[in-house]
Amino acid sequence: MSHLDALPPWAAILVAVFVMLGALFAFVGSLGLLRLKNFYQRVHAPTLGTTLGTFFMLAGSITCFSVLHGRPIFYEILIGVFLTLTTPITLMLLVRAALYRDREEGSADVPQATLRE
């Protein structure tokens, strides 16, 4: 990674700030998995990592490589696009599976199914 030496100080600081912010959001999201009390609450936490966490990481990557190569490089945006489009599917599957089990067990914490669903 010696070519990173070529990064001017202002860019290095900017990239560091972006990456740290991204790591911070991803960390808080993971911490939420640990601290929140039930499944439905926990499933909220990782969205921090997939939204702002990813955003700052990508911003750091875009800044770093655009400066290093001296031209705009922004194909990292695709990662963000695909993440945004695919996360809902996984989350919905997980939540619906949990809901199905809770309803089968007759849990009082979840709303019961409407007649036709």
Binding site: F25, V28, G29, L31, G32, R35, L36, K37, Y40, Q41, V43, H44, A45, T47, L48, T50, T51, L52, I73, F74, Y75, I77, L78, T84, L85, T87, P88, L91, M92, V95, R96, L99, V110, P111, T114, R116, E117
Partner: protein
């Protein structure tokens, strides 16, 4: 002729754009392969016989996008604060939102919005009653949430897709 070869011009253009971005070049060869991929994949997509999508209001779509980005940033901070709070008991719960939106694409966009925003998840949707069930992490006022979803997201989506 155009309809036969380019049934979904926007989709083909987007696929071409993704291909160019991934390859990071606009050399003639890459362009040609990207265009071929865009046309071929759009034709494959057509085999699924997707219902026709009509976006009626592009400026509003942009406005909605900006609003969602802002909401995502705001709720990121709110959820982070909730997680880091010393007393970790939060009152969360399910909210049933009666919808007026029935367009499939509108619902898909709504699902992306609700799930991408930390603090709310799409749980299930009942198409016969047109009721959406969401789970809210920090539930204080149920009516306020129903109002927020309907006013901030559903109304523009109705105007855009229906």
């Amino acid at each position: 002729m155009t309809r036969r070869w380019l049934p979904y011009p926007i989709l083909s253009a987007l696929l071409l754009l993704i291909w160019l971005l991934l390859n990071q070049s606009i050399a003639p060869g890459t362009l040609l392969l990207g265009a071929l991929l865009g046309i071929a994949l759009a034709k494959v997509f057509g085999l699924l016989r997707p219902p026709k999508a009509r976006v009626r209001n592009y400026p509003l779509l942009g406005l909605l996008f900006l609003r969602v980005v802002l909401d995502i940033v705001r709720s990121n901070i709110a959820v982070a604060r909730l997680v880091l709070r010393r007393d970790s008991r939060t009152h969360s719960g399910f909210v049933a939102v009666p919808l007026a939106l029935t367009d499939r694409y509108g619902l898909a966009v709504l699902a992306c919005i609700i799930t991408s925003t930390p603090g709310t998840i799409w749980v299930s949707y009942d198409p016969s009653a047109n009721v959406l069930l969401i789970h809210v992490l920090d539930l204080v006022d149920e009516a306020a949430w129903i109002d927020t979803i309907k006013r901030r997201y559903e109304r523009p989506l109705l105007e855009i897709f229906q």
